[in-house]
């Protein structure tokens, strides 16, 4: 059964994790994560869920202090497509084996800006026609442009790489400094990519969509992000991520190729709704996925580690539990994955897969019933510990309470399997001390060296 399952999953994992386009998109979004986290911290300070703190800040810095912080969070969230096109362009240039990766990234950025509306119209009261001014709108640079950013980055770098491969480059004589040589070598490939996107922009100007942004948003982004709004979305993500891990395959590295752009859009949409004073509606944000599905790493193993450390009877369980607990609190379970082990260990497969799914369902129910607020459009470091993360990502102490309930459920799910494994290890340890043979007194201390 397990072998059959692995035979099905392995080719899927290979296709997804080795696909150059999907890897570039996944890694490109990873590049933007630190920016989003820093922006989220600024956003959290300006919207801290304690009125006393906000009053204190106003008393110290005066009214309007939060607007200054908004300058940082606006760039992190409202320019997410702009950051994405640059980082995905860079990662795709790497995947294509280009030496001048930053050249590819810049071409991707420029192509995206070429097809982005450069004029903004504003209704003026009393005027017959809308006034216009030159400049980009956040609307096109933020979440609504994210899928277009991905497509533009891939296509523009593909064209750029094709031109380089076909040697459509200007060669300068030897002795010219390498930077100048590289810069001129990029000239024709950049020109071809930019001209193609220039043409694409003009073509869409003459369609009912008016801008490529609207076309991609309606045809691709809205339907795909719509999948992320279905109640089964996160359960499928969590299930697949841990299922792959069980076979030793880094699950999120595979599933994120598909799911991370959707998570990103859902998160930023919540931010934009909050900024516009609208209701946030997306449940399955990056914050939900990071802090309400897994505690202590993939498979939500924090409950298991706590039991190992404090309830384990075998030395192996106790030692590994105590050594793994500090890292587990910060969401890292590598010592457990290979040391317990969890990989290829059929006994631990059931709770390892079940616990994150149970957490996801509890989190979903708690959100739709209003027990805890919907997660904010902020992204915190995934190492943020339980209780703190629940409070910060929902702005309510109920977020922490729900996390504690989930941890208790995880402990219940893992308990019978933990007991079985602990018993087995204990038997092995007592059998080893009961039997006597030449291997009983193995010790490096009294080893005779030649």
């Amino acid at each position: 059964m397990m072998q059959k399952l692995e035979k099905i999953l392995m080719p899927i994992a290979n296709v997804l994790s080795r696909n150059k386009i999907l890897s570039a998109i996944r890694d490109g979004f990873l590049v933007t994560v630190p920016i989003t986290i820093v922006g989220s911290i600024f956003l959290l300070i300006s919207n801290f869920p304690m009125q006393g703190f906000l009053d204190m800040m106003t008393a110290i810095f005066g009214a309007g202090w939060d607007a200054y912080l908004g300058r940082v969070s606006a760039i992190a969230f409202d320019c997410v497509a702009l950051l994405g096109v640059l980082s995905i362009g860079y990662c795709y240039a790497r995947e294509k084996g280009l030496e001048n990766r930053i050249g590819g990234a810049v071409v991707a950025l420029v192509c995206f800006l070429i097809i982005t509306p450069q004029k903004t119209f504003v209704e003026v009261e009393g005027a017959a026609e809308a006034a216009s001014f030159s400049g980009f709108q956040f609307t096109f640079l933020g979440t609504a442009g994210m899928f277009l950013a991905m497509i533009t980055a891939i296509l523009s770098v593909e064209i750029y790489a094709w031109a380089i491969r076909k040697k459509l480059i200007i060669r300068l004589p030897d002795g010219v400094p390498p930077m100048v040589m590289e810069s001129f070598a990029s000239l024709v490939p950049s020109a071809i990519a930019m001209t193609v996107f220039f043409a694409v922009g003009i073509i869409f100007d003459h369609t009912s969509f008016e801008y490529v942004h609207y076309f991609i948003y309606q045809v691709l982004q809205a339907p795909l992000v719509g999948l992320g709004k279905l109640s089964g979305f996160e359960v499928i993500y969590q299930f697949l991520s841990t299922l792959f891990w069980f076979f030793g395959i880094n699950g999120p590295a595979v599933t994120n190729t598909i799911f991370s752009p959707i998570h990103k859009v859902l998160t930023v949409e919540n931010y934009e709704a909050a900024q516009a004073g609208l209701e946030m509606t997306n449940i399955f944000t990056a914050g939900f996925s990071d802090f309400f599905c897994n505690f202590g790493g993939g498979g939500s193993t924090l409950g298991l580690v706590i039991m190992m450390a404090f309830l384990g009877k075998s030395n192996r369980m106790k030692t590994l539990g105590r050594l793994s607990l500090p890292a587990g609190i910060f969401g890292i379970n590598e010592p457990l994955i290979f040391g317990l082990p969890i990989v290829l260990n059929p006994l631990m497969a059931v709770p390892f897969i079940l616990a994150p799914v149970a957490n996801t369902i509890i989190g979903y129910v708690a959100t739709v019933t209003g027990i805890m607020p919907i997660t904010l459009g902020v992204q915190l470091p995934w190492t943020c510990p339980i209780v703190f993360s629940g409070f910060l990502v929902t702005g309510s102490v109920m977020g922490s309470v729900v996390q504690i309930v989930m941890l208790a459920v995880d402990i219940l799910i893992y308990y019978p399997f933990f007991k079985l494994l602990d018993k087995r290890y204990l038997e092995e340890e007592s059998a080893a001390s009961g039997e006597t043979d030449e291997l009983d007194d193995l010790s490096f201390d009294d080893l005779e060296l030649d």
Binding site: A13, L320, S324, G339, V343, L344, L449
Partner: protein, 174 residues
Amino acid sequence: MKVVLIFDQGLAGAGGKSNPNVGLTAVKGGIGSALMLEPHFEKIGAQVAATLYCGNEYFRDNEEEVVKKMTAMVKKVKPDFVLCGPCFNYLDYGKMAAMISTSILESTDIKSCAMMSVENADTIAAYKDKTPILKMPKKGGTGLNDSFADLCEFIQCTVKQSEELENVRTRVCY
């Protein structure tokens, strides 16, 4: 068939990066990641006699001592085969495994191999002519089970001194 495993602290279940200085330790039977290997070992009638391990930083600080004492301990246990691995893409562990396996092959009659992913490129280049180094995926990569099946085929051919050994070695080693 008696097999000895040489692990680092992570695979031994003695903590990962939080416990890098754990000294040389010998345990009867298989511990930690041995559980992943046991179903494969059962198919070829192999049993883990002992697991020897130390922390990656301990190895870095005491390379010579670790290699010498691990080799001496292997001599004492007298297994049919020593597996120095699976090291995944852990670089210190990969180097330790290759050095110990080389030492065992050079100074004893016991068969041995190392096993690591391609990320250990420097170690592979330096030691692949001195000891068999089996291919395997990096941590989180695909094909872990297949690499264990290859390992068992290699162990069996090596211990039985099968005529197929060279073919198998060409296929499964770097």
